[in-house]
Amino acid sequence: MSVLKEIGESVLSYQPKKAEELTRRALDEGKSAAEILNEGLIPAMDTVGKKYEGGEIYVPEMLMAAKSMKAALAILRPILAETGVESKGKVVIGTVEGDLHDIGQNLVSIMLEGAGYDVHNLGIDNTADAFVEAVKETSPDVVAMSALLTTTMIQMPGVIEGLKEAGLRDGVKIIIGGAPVTEEYANQIGADGYAKDAAAAVTLVRDLLK
């Protein structure tokens, strides 16, 4: 088995230390950071996403796969930055104001990173202004919002409105998710898409940025 396949296997078998060791070995063997990312880690995380979407694995398995991927990425990131490898796109993500539940958005962040996107995670409890500022600072391709409660998801239209007022709405795709959020609600508030879970969010971002 090639070292790149072994790296993928270490992610799929939830072994962070092995992923780290194999990544170092691959670099020693002359593989580029971009090769390791594109041929080892991204296909593995793609498989993780499909398994999760298909109900074959659950949140703990996804978190362990992500931990393995991150162990490898920690080694690759400085090299990738140095060699100027471009990401597939930039995503700003956060929960809306008053919402302090972040497992869902963290899983989305992990899966997007694993798929090769540059993710700016704003964390929890972000006002519309915080989203607008983050868009000004990072110029993302996508803004992703999450909410747990029916009474916090109503902050989402305010963020879209804030981006419109700042003249930034047309430059970004807006996607939403979270327990009470639906496709219908996304359409109602003028978002560009809705994803029911982390794997679906990756597919949605891919489709929107085609």
Binding site: Y58, V59, L63, I103, T150, T151, A179, D197
Partner: protein, 409 residues
């Protein structure tokens, strides 16, 4: 003019039990909730009922609060004279709760106090050892209407808990969570004296929730692969404590049934794989169901989320009698009744998002559609899809209740 609070409620726990167990067709709509938030109880009791309870003041406000519970736990653990019902504030709380649920048409009193007290003992002991989760630090302004707001809402810490290593686990003096100290007999003697004829009280338990709080959800997920024995040890501690609590509660005549309240799922899946749940959680549930049934009592489950990957386990292996908590995005109560309705009872099902956001006429039509579908099937009782949270607009809650009260099939 709405129907609630009822002028002449006629609680009949035996009739509710017969409906839930499928032994009788419902003669009327029975109402079910895991609980109503204290702000909702306060508002209705203070503004819509004639009972002469002392007005809401600092003493009363603190009686149901976390700080009051922790103060009581500290008193208990320091060897001070401890009573579950510690003077007037606690007595008033119970009497008000009873008045609320009675007048809102319930056949039982939802009661979380013994379980809360057990958890407060644990929290106090863990904190004394320098172990702390950051639950209190996660708060944001409450989104409830001003009249029902609690000011700030606390959110659960999801990453870390009290225990992340064997060293942490061993620092907790688990043996000091001594349930004999709770004075459960005295507590239920008071309950029995004050419950109206026809009403019982619930025995609430929770196992997976405290395991998650103890370890932190993300830490637990990692430990399942890196140190599964630690997860097993924590699950064993809480599983057994909960069993011992049920043993003390279910033997009392005034206790109607066991209510296991553990959220096992989220929007698209169970929180852990079915295999992990079968290993760490469900065997405990089976023991609780067996215990309840040996007492001739039911075991209801409250679990949010998509738990259908383990529903057969819950029905066949655990032996739950009823499931409560439904979200239309996952499986509407109507679909649940079509799929599982003949085998266990479905309880509640008025979707929280619809309850919060629909205009009243649409909400009433939606509630009616649930009743039309579910009532003829039997083994159904009516209520929210989760609980009467303080962020539910009060008018909508009362409209939902009115629809149930008016239903005649």
């Amino acid at each position: 003019m709405g129907s609630f609070p009822l002028k002449d409620p006629k609680p009949d726990f035996e009739a509710l039990e017969a409906v839930v167990l499928g032994r009788a067709e419902p003669k009327r709509v029975h109402f079910v909730e895991e609980f109503a938030d204290v702000e909702v109880i306060d508002y209705i009791v203070q503004n819509m009922m004639e009972e002469d309870f002392p007005s809401l003041d600092e003493t009363w406000a603190s009686a149901g609060s976390d700080s009051h519970l922790l103060a009581k736990a500290q008193k208990l653990l320091s060897g001070g004279a401890f009573k579950m019902i510690d003077g007037e504030p606690d007595e008033i709380r119970i009497k008000r709760d009873i008045a609320f649920y009675h007048r809102m048409g319930f056949d039982y009193l939802p009661d979380l106090a013994p379980w809360h007290m057990m958890c407060a003992m644990f929290g106090t002991l863990a904190t004394e050892q320098g172990l702390a989760s950051s639950f209190e630090s996660h708060s944001a302004p409450d989104t409830a209407d001003e009249s029902l707001s609690r000011g700030m809402r606390n959110w659960m810490e999801e990453k870390i808990g009290f225990v992340s290593s064997w060293e942490d686990f061993e620092r907790i003096p688990w043996e000091r969570v001594d349930l004999d100290m709770l004075g459960i007999d005295e507590y239920y003697a008071f309950m029995a004296k004050h419950l109206p004829d026809g009403m019982k009280v619930t025995a609430l338990g929770c196992t997976f929730g405290p395991v998650v709080t103890t370890l932190g959800f993300e830490t637990m997920c990692t430990l399942l692969y890196e140190d599964p024995d630690l997860v097993r040890a924590v699950a064993e501690k809480w599983g057994r404590l909960n069993l011992e609590l049920y043993e003390r509660m279910l033997s009392h005549e005034c206790v109607g049934f066991a209510w296991q309240a553990d959220d096992l799922g989220y929007k698209t899946q169970t929180l852990l794989s079915p295999a992990h749940l079968r290993e760490y959680v469900l065997p405990w549930f089976a023991q609780y169901a067996d215990l309840a049934h040996r007492h001739g009592k039911m075991l209801w489950l409250h679990s949010c989320g998509n738990i259908y990957a383990i529903m057969e386990d819950l029905i066949e292996d655990v032996g739950i009698d009823a499931q409560q908590s439904f979200q239309d995005e996952i499986m509407p109560i109507t679909d649940f009744m079509d799929t599982y309705g003949g085998r266990i009872a479905g309880l509640g099902g008025v979707d929280m998002d619809k309850l919060c956001r629909l205009p009243k006429p649409e909400l009433s039509a939606y509630c009616r559609s649930i009743l039309d579908h579910c009532m003829p099937k039997g083994r159904y009782a009516y209520g929210t899809g989760n609980s009467v949270a303080n962020y539910v607009p009060l008018d909508n809650y009362l409209a939902m209740m009115d629809e149930g009260y008016r239903y005649r099939g």
